[in-house]
Amino acid sequence: MTAGAAGGAAEGLDARLVVRRGAFDLDLALTAAPGEVVALLGPNGAGKSTALRALAGLVATSGGHLRVDGADLRPLPSERRGIGMVFQDYLLFPHLSALDNVAFGPRCRGEGRRAARRRAAGWLERVGLAEHAASRPGALSGGQAQRVALARALAVEPRLLLLDEPLAALDAHTRLEIRAALRRHLAGFTGATVLVTHDPLDAMVLADRLVVVEDGRLVQQGTPAEVARRPRTDYVARLVGLNLYRGRAEAGTVLVGEGPETLDTVDSLDGEVFLAFAPSSVALYRTRPDGSPRNLWRARVTAVERQGDRVRVQLSGPPFPAVAEVTPAAVAELQLSEGSLIWAAVKATETHVYPA
C-alpha cells in the first residue's frame, strides 16, 4: 500500500506543502495514488486543514511543489486547479437549488445551462438524491447536504478530491450510515482523494492510508492497521487506545525512558524501540500479587471514568503513566478511587515491541 506513496509517481497527487505564517509552520510531503484515499489525521491546530486549503489554492504556499497527474498546479489559482472540495459544513449556496449547486461547477467550466443541469441531475441520481433536485439547501438534512456537496465537488470531474471533516457536521445518529455511503462513493472515484479528520474511526473506515500530522510535520503514516498496531507518538497512541513507551531494548527487556524501570517482552529486538500494550491487558491488584508477573509496578490512580461497559483507570508514574481498562466489578472489588495506591501488572506476552 505504501509503495505507491513512496514512489512519487506522476499519476495522482505528489506534493510538498510548505506554508509559513508567523509562528505557524507547515512542511508536509503528501502523495496519493489514483483511487487511493489518504486521511490527514492530527490534533487541532496541527495544520491538516491548512494543508488541504493549500492543495485547494485557498492558502498560498511559500515553497514545495504540487503536481496532480503530472500537471504543476502550484502557480494556478483555485479556480484553475480542477480539484473538487467538500467543505466542513458543505457550504452549499443557500440561494440555489440542489441541482443548481451541483451544476455550478460545470457552468463555470463553460458548459451551457441545459448541459450542466443534465450533468448535475446525473450526479444527484448517483448520490441518491434525484428527488431532491429542486430543494434549497436549507430544506436538506445534514446527510443529504453532504451528498449534494460531494456531488457538487465530483461534477467538475476532478483528478483530486479534497474532503474537510466530511462527517463532523453530522450527529452521531446518522453518522454511521453516512460514513458507509461516503465510503462507497469514494470507492467509485478514480482520482486521488485527501480527507482531513480528527476522528480516528472515520479515518480508519474511509482511508487506505493514514498520514498523521502534528505541529505541521508528518509524524507517522501507513495503512490504518499498521498505524493502529504500531503508534509512534503519544497522540496516535491515545487515538488508537494503546499505552506507548519509548525505550532501549536488550535481550527481551526494554529500559523505559531514562530507566531504571524496565518492562519485559517476548519480542527479541535490540536497540531503540517502541513498546505498546492495550489498556485491557493491564491487571490491577490491591496487594502485591503472589507468583510474580514480571512486569509489576506500584502506581497511583489519578482518574477513574466509565466508558461503555468498561472502566478506564488512569495511572500516574513513576515509574510510568498508563491506562488500564477493567470491569466495573473490579473497580468495586479493588475499591479504586482517585489517589489510591495499587499494583499494576502486564504480562510480557501482552506487550508489543517495534523499532523506533
Partner: protein, 272 residues
C-alpha cells in the same frame, strides 16, 4: 429585580418599567409623531381633491419620483462595486477612502451643492470640459437634480452594502473558487445573491434620502418648476406664497414615502 437566571424568551422582565425611562420615551415618540398629526389636522381636506390635480403638484411629484429612482439606480450601479472594493480588496489608504465615502453623510447638503457646482458647473473643473467636448451641462437641469441626489444618497448604499459584504461568509466564495468560478462569476452568482438583502435595504435608504433631498438640489440644480423643482423644493416655495398648498404637497410626499417603503419592506426586507 431578580438577578437569578437569564430571562427566557417570552418571559416578562421583572417589575414595572421605570418612569425615568418611560417618560422620556413618550416625549420622544410624541415629538416624532405630533408634527405628522399636525399635517393631517391642518390639511385643507375640502379642497384637497382640486389642489391635488393642479399641474404643479403632479409635475413636482413626477419629477421627484423620477429623479429619486434614477439617483438610486446610479447609486446601485456605482455604489455596489465601490462597496465591494472597500470590503474585499485590500489597498493602501483604504481607511482614508472609506472616510471620504462617508463625508457626504456629515456634510451639510448645501455645501455638497456648492462643491458640485465647482466641479460640474459650467465653468467647473470637469463641467467646463464636458460642456466644451460634449455640450453636456448639469447645473439647473433634471440631470443635475439626479446628480445632486446621487451625491447625497450614495454613502447610505455603500455603507449598507459594505456592511453586508463584511458580514457575508467568505467561505462561500472559496467554495465557488474551487468549483472553477472567476472572481467576476463569484461576485455575480454567489456574493451578490448573498448580500441582496443588504443591497435592497441600502437602495431603500438611498431612495428615501434622494426623495427628501433639498439643500444640494436647490444649490446645484435650482428651482425651476417642471425641470428641477422636486417636491421638497415645491413645499418650501409654496410655504412662502400658499401655506395650504405646502400642506397638501407635504401630505402627498408623506403618503408616497410611507406607501413605497411599506411595499418594499414587505417584498424584500420583510422576512430575510
Amino acid at each position: 429585580m431578580s438577578p437569578r437566571g437569564r430571562a427566557r424568551e417570552g418571559d416578562r422582565p421583572p417589575g414595572r418599567p421605570p418612569w425615568v425611562l418611560v417618560a422620556p420615551a413618550l416625549v420622544g415618540l410624541a415629538f416624532l409623531v405630533l408634527p405628522l398629526v399636525g399635517l393631517l389636522v391642518r390639511a385643507p381636506w375640502s379642497t384637497l381633491g382640486t389642489r391635488l390635480v393642479q399641474g404643479q403638484v403632479l409635475e413636482a411629484l413626477r419629477l421627484s419620483l423620477l429623479s429619486a429612482t434614477l439617483a438610486t439606480a446610479l447609486c446601485v450601479l456605482f455604489g455596489v462595486p465601490l462597496a465591494w472594493v472597500l470590503a474585499r480588496v485590500p489597498f493602501p489608504g483604504a481607511r482614508l477612502v472609506r472616510a471620504l465615502v462617508t463625508v457626504p453623510l456629515v456634510l451639510p447638503p448645501v455645501v455638497g451643492g456648492v462643491a458640485l457646482l465647482l466641479v460640474l458647473g459650467r465653468r467647473g473643473l470637469v463641467g467646463g470640459w464636458l460642456d466644451d467636448a460634449f455640450g453636456l451641462t448639469f447645473p439647473f437641469t433634471t440631470a443635475g437634480v439626479v446628480l445632486a441626489e446621487t451625491f447625497v444618497a450614495m454613502p447610505f448604499l455603500v455603507i449598507s452594502v459594505e456592511g453586508a459584504l463584511r458580514a457575508a461568509d467568505l467561505r462561500y466564495e472559496e467554495a465557488a473558487a474551487t468549483l472553477g468560478a472567476t472572481r467576476w462569476t463569484i461576485f455575480r452568482r454567489v456574493t451578490l445573491p448573498l448580500v441582496a438583502p443588504g443591497v435592497a435595504a441600502g437602495a431603500i435608504l438611498c431612495w428615501a434620502r434622494a426623495l427628501g433631498e433639498f439643500g444640494a438640489t436647490i444649490t446645484f440644480a435650482g428651482n425651476f418648476p417642471g425641470r428641477t423643482q422636486t417636491m421638497p423644493l415645491a413645499v418650501y416655495l409654496a410655504l412662502e406664497t400658499d401655506p395650504q398648498a405646502a400642506i397638501v404637497l407635504s401630505l402627498v410626499l408623506l403618503a408616497v414615502s410611507v406607501l413605497v417603503l411599506a411595499a418594499l419592506r414587505d417584498r424584500w426586507v420583510g422576512t430575510s
